[in-house]
């Protein structure tokens, strides 16, 4: 099921299917859309290797019951997709959910937009950026089977 190096060491620990579709109604380029868990709560998320951090949909973030005291102090204006978005930075647990094999947990930097950003957010799902989120994950894509393989690049204690 999972990929392995010639030494036998597994490349990946788990594999999941994905949906290959545009992230929003206004886009035409398909993206990898996975179902993940953020702090244990299920959500759809787009693999965005050109992006940074885990970016939560503002409405999904409301399900997480986060308190500003847990965040880096103050509202930060962050440049996302060419636009300054206001929100707070947290350390959250993201779980990649395996159809086969083992789930993988990532302690990630997460950007949670302020609730008022929901008005302009549209149908963009959560985003899994490379820097600050997937940067320590091995992953591979089988486009024929629409399988996303994943595992830790190194086992963290």
């Amino acid at each position: 099921m999972t990929l392995a190096f010639p030494t036998g060491e597994p490349f990946a620990r788990g594999v999941t299917g994905y949906d290959y579709r545009p992230a929003t109604a206004h886009e035409t380029t398909p993206r990898l859309v996975l179902e993940v868990a953020i702090e244990g709560i299920l959500a759809e998320a787009v693999v965005d290797t050109g992006g940074v951090y885990l970016v939560c949909h503002p409405d999904i973030a409301r399900r997480l019951s986060l308190t500003p005291a847990e965040a880096l102090s103050g509202v930060q204006g962050i440049l996302l997709r060419g636009t300054i978005v206001h929100g707070r930075l947290y350390r959250l647990t993201l779980t990649l959910l395996a159809d086969q094999g083992e789930d993988v947990m990532i302690q990630t930097t997460a950007f949670v937009p302020e609730p008022e950003e929901a008005e302009h957010w549209g149908d963009l799902p959560c985003l899994l950026g490379l820097y600050g989120c997937l940067e320590r994950v091995r992953f591979a894509v089988d486009p024929r089977a629409e399988h996303f393989y994943f595992g830790p690049a190194a086992e963290d204690a």
């Binding site: 949906d19 109604a25 930097t109 799902p125 940067e135």
Partner: protein
């Protein structure tokens, strides 16, 4: 230096400035004016001024300086610099609560195997979404283990209809 032929209002400004003693000579006044003009042109071309460049590369002098530089780095999309500032600031001021929190939040991610497997039926959710995505385009939908629970035009309306336990997927389908 002769400054003849200037417009009357500029000539008056020069006379007043020299009379005030702020500038020791006409040459000094002209040099100061040209420096202002040079800075303005550099800003128009996007060339960083020497002072700004040294600020970007300098070591912050206090915890507040670290936090301010960190906020600027985030706002300008310098995410790598933001992490460096957070980690360096926390190392230098290890008892400063906000800097240690910044270092924890912005530290490189850690990746581990989950202690317990999840129990949700993710493939069933995926199959439902593929089959019904167009029928519910533009709506929020709630699913549990591939079973449709509810649909609504907004998140709030959906949340009012379902018991949103963690195993319920709530997602908005593109229009």
């Amino acid at each position: 230096m002769d400054l003849n032929g200037l417009p009357a209002d500029v000539a008056q400004f020069v006379d007043d400035a020299l009379a005030s003693g702020k500038y020791p000579s006409a040459e000094a006044l002209v040099a100061a004016a040209l420096q202002v003009l040079q800075q303005q042109e550099e800003e128009d071309r996007g060339t960083p001024r020497p002072a700004a460049a040294s600020e970007a590369g300098s070591v912050p002098a206090s915890p507040d300086d670290y936090l301010q530089a960190l906020a600027v780095a985030l706002r300008t999309g310098e995410f790598g610099r933001a992490r460096q500032l957070a980690l360096a600031g926390a190392a230098r001021y290890p008892v400063h609560a906000e800097l240690t929190k910044a270092a924890r939040v912005l530290a490189p991610p850690t990746v581990t195997r989950a202690p317990h497997p999840h129990t949700a039926n993710i493939p069933a959710n995926r199959a439902w979404l593929k089959a019904h995505r167009h029928a519910y385009a533009g709506q929020w939908v709630a699913l549990r283990d591939g079973h449709f629970l509810a649909a609504a035009p907004s998140f709030d309306a959906l949340a009012a209809q379902v018991d949103a336990t963690p195993d319920v997927l709530m997602t908005k389908l593109p229009a």
